[in-house]
């Protein structure tokens, strides 16, 4: 009996040790950080760095919110102040050489155009984001609208 208890104890200790050791524990499911085991903590990928400075980018479909072609580090957008509107507001856009926020941003929920940007469209980064040159985390088979149309035409022509 005593030997059995000793045997069971040592086996369970060994299993616990195995499960906890980084190299011997079972493989982890493939999430955003591929490879490794459950016991390991793989290093996080490097932060993508500053947004790329580009000219204005073509939209992939007509209603796409245009992406932000400049860095927006530390921009304050809250109840008190909206840094984006410093340049993109109706009054300052021409002198700043920035595109004015579109008229849809001035519409309230009844499509009534107001004098100021309405609260529903006030928080710019809900839709508009800067772009980095980071690699995509997951594969995407997204096609721009022009490409879809072109491919359809080609398909119909055959």
């Amino acid at each position: 009996m005593k030997t059995l208890i000793a045997f069971v104890m040592s086996v369970s200790f060994a299993l616990v040790a195995m499960a906890q050791s980084p190299s011997m524990s079972p493989p982890s499911p493939d999430g955003l950080r591929k490879g490794g085991t459950l016991g390991e903590t793989p290093a996080a990928p490097a932060i993508a760095g500053d947004p790329r400075e580009v000219k204005r980018e073509v939209r992939n479909y007509p209603e796409q919110p245009p992406v932000i072609p400049h860095a927006i580090r530390g921009y304050q957008v809250d109840k008190r102040f909206n840094r984006c509107l410093d340049c993109h507001s109706r009054e300052s856009a021409p002198s700043a050489g920035a595109p004015m926020v579109s008229v849809t941003h001035f519409m309230d929920r009844d499509f009534q155009v107001r004098a100021e940007v309405t609260p529903g469209r006030y928080f710019c980064t809900q839709c508009h984001v800067p772009q980095t040159d980071a690699e995509a985390l997951v594969e995407s088979d997204f096609k721009a609208v022009d490409q879809v149309i072109r491919e359809q035409k080609q398909g119909a022509g055959q």
Binding site: R73, G74, Q76, D78, K79, R80, F81, R83, D86, A96, G97
Partner: protein
Amino acid sequence: MMDRLKYYWRLLRKPSVHYSLGFLTLGGFLAGIIFWGGFNTALEVTNTEQFCIGCHEMYSNPYQELKDTIHYTNRSGVRATCSDCHVPHDWTHKIGRKMEASKEVWGWIFGTINTPEKFEAKRRELAQREWHRLKANDSLECRNCHEFESMDFTLQDPRAAEAHSTALTENSDQTCIDCHKGIAHELPDMAGVSR
């Protein structure tokens, strides 16, 4: 009253009876060093960030907001502490600012901004005071580090170069703070403020 004043005046004018001239001059000299040095050391202590954020008002409001900005963390690790922007570096102006700061001690004693709500309510007033101060001294504290003479406009983007090369010249009355507000702390409600 007059008698008393006369007594002290006579006491001052009379030559010393017990102490030698050497003791008085050397002693005065040493005491001068100790007092002047002590004064300046104490003054410098009040100029450190440790001192400023020693009070929770400064630690939990302005200091936390500073931490996200480029004046606190950046590539090259050069940073500005509280006094770099809020206290002039040269002596006369520094003493002037330190005397103004007695108002801040008053605020600390009576807890005028000791909760986030109180701070929020006074944010516009406090910000405006700093804007006015920097406008009046031609953004002196900014210029401790950012020298107009050393700015290479060709390295700035066209819009910045255009603004800097016109607005900051002798024949313009604009200064750094006119455009660069809210660079180290969050801005208050900006309704009606021109930027």
